[in-house]
Amino acid sequence: MEEVHATRTELLARKNQMALAKQGCELLKEKRDALLIEFMAIMNKVLEASRRLQEAARKSTYAMAVAKAVDGLATIRSAAMATKGEVTVEISGSYIMGVPVPEVKKKSVRRSALERGYSVTGVSSRIDEAAERYEQELDIILDMAATETKMRRLGEELQRTRRRVNALERVVIPALAEQVKYIQMALDERAREDLFRLKKVKKSLEAKKKAALQEG
């Protein structure tokens, strides 16, 4: 236990600290619960996006396998060189329960077969289909990236808040209660000692007074 001066001022200070810690703990518990609600909502979104991503990945792998099988790798790689493109994302920030989270605005990467840069007469619909599937997958990945980052940030904050609540509930408040109890006990002990001493003094004074009367 840290060094505690058993004084009435100290007792008041510790009691104030304890009241503050309890209030802080309540507030943090409220924050934790609110974060948990947000976290669960985002987690459902992430799980849904993850399920969609798995499905999209399965379909794109399948479409690519069909294209590779029928058209051959050389033809696919050749077509891929014609379709160079770019992914534009705009990243800004916002706050959820005071936690900074990224907001990603993106332009869909999906293109029509006529916009991919090669001629439809020379590239099979199998390659087109594989390209389309991968564009869909990329769209989901970009959506998921923002939501997953939000979830991670909220998760970190949730963990931090939970640690603080635990620290207050299990360490700080019990320690302060212990100190208050100790000071209270010390002060009570001192009061009892004072009373005893006063009684002793009184008794001694009375004895002296009695002796003086008898002598007189």
């Binding site: 792998t61 399948y62 479409a63 396998a65 069909v66 294209a67 590779k68 099988a69 029928v70 051959g72 790798l73 050389a74 033809t75 790689r77 050749s78 077509a79 060189m81 014609a82 160079k84 029509s112 077969a113 006529l114 840069g117 090669y118 001629s119 439809v120 007469t121 020379g122 099979s124 619909s125 199998r126 087109d128 289909e129």
Partner: protein, 352 residues
């Protein structure tokens, strides 16, 4: 009069080594790719497969081996045809489709600033442009350099590409250049074999049917895209066997794909198109429509095995049958590699 006697005798010998449907059925039943590879290692593919597998590991190596094998088979046919000028000319016309693939690949590579090696690896040097020509083209620093070189060599492909180049500069998209090249190929190839008699007619008919098939697939693909009406004719290749560009544009005006099938009912394309669309409704994939049309085209060409044994028919049929064999093997290998159900693999195969 061209004499195809010796050439066809040799081709018949090569044809006898094509895999039978029973052999392919056996491969289909294989548990995985290694079982397929093991079965292929006991065939005449062995040497080329080994070459491919030395270059790349796994499935890539096997596919490379298949590619080597087909290329060496085609080169063999070319060598055999050298003694017969007409057969050689016909082959040159047919193989020039790989010139188009190679030219597009080089242009795409330059457009994407890909490395020379990356471009070179995707080339299939079997056409008029041999490895030396292609290497020189790949070495050019940009598309303009390639076009200038083609013009300097006096190659006919320079014209459509030079005409489409200003559009490329404006849009930075290769679509126009590629479309011009495709249109040019079919027109040029058909002109090349005009008036050479029965054998050339056979090749011309093949090219014209291919134009029809490509146009019909394009038509179905355009129906799923939002294309301005006035732009539609640009996407069709001229020179079809049955369907003119005007007829195709009229078909594109129809609301439903079923109406197209109905309008084509008197043509041989209605059957495969109907079959493809039936599968499209089940799978939602346009690729199945294209595959059924390809199947129809391949079957029509392979049927030439039964045509005049002293004509170019056998040589033409062999080229398509051999290429189809490689595609079938690739489908089985890839299908097994991604765990495709046996039925789905079988559907993608074209058994002739």
């Amino acid at each position: 009069m061209a004499d195809y006697g010796y050439l066809n005798a040799r081709i018949r010998a090569m044809k006898s080594r094509l895999f039978t449907p029973q052999f392919l059925e056996g491969l289909l039943r294989a548990a995985d790719t290694s079982e397929v590879t093991a079965a292929l290692a006991h065939t005449h593919y062995r040497v080329d497969l080994e070459r491919g597998m030395v270059r790349y590991p796994g499935l890539l190596g096997i596919e490379e081996g298949l590619r080597y094998h087909v290329l060496s088979s085609f080169r063999k046919v070319k060598e055999l045809a050298e003694s017969e000028p007409q057969a050689y000319q016909l082959l040159k016309v047919l193989f020039s489709r790989w010139d188009i693939h190679n030219l597009k690949t080089i242009l795409r590579g330059k457009h994407a600033a890909a490395s020379d090696r990356e471009i070179q690896e995707q080339l299939i040097p079997i056409g008029e442009l041999d490895e030396a020509h292609l290497t020189e083209l790949v070495r050019q620093i940009n598309i303009k350099g390639c076009l200038d070189l083609l013009a300097m060599w006096g190659l006919p492909y320079a014209r459509p590409l030079t005409e489409g180049y200003p559009h490329y500069l404006k849009t930075r998209r290769l679509t126009e250049l590629e479309l011009r090249l495709d249109k040019f190929y079919y027109q040029y190839a058909q002109e090349q074999v005009k008036g050479w008699g029965m054998n050339a007619d056979l090749v011309r008919e093949l090219l014209r049917r291919e134009v029809d098939v490509t146009n019909l697939v394009t038509l179905i693909r355009l129906m799923t895209e939002d294309v301005p009406r006035e732009k539609i004719p640009e996407y069709f290749l001229p020179g079809g066997k049955i369907l003119t560009v005007e007829q195709l544009v009229a078909l594109a005006e129809l609301e439903e794909v079923e109406e197209i099938v109905e309008a084509l009912k008197k043509t041989p394309y209605a059957g495969p198109l109907r079959e493809g669309l039936k599968q499209y409704l089940k799978t939602g994939s346009l690729a199945v429509v294209e595959r059924r049309m390809e199947e129809f085209n391949i079957q029509q060409i392979v049927r030439l095995f039964r045509a005049d044994p002293l004509s170019a028919a056998l040589m033409v049929a062999y080229i398509w049958a051999k290429f189809n064999e490689m595609v079938n093997l690739r489908i089985i290998l890839r299908g097994k590699a991604v765990g495709m159900p046996e039925e789905a693999i079988r559907e993608a195969l074209v058994i002739v």
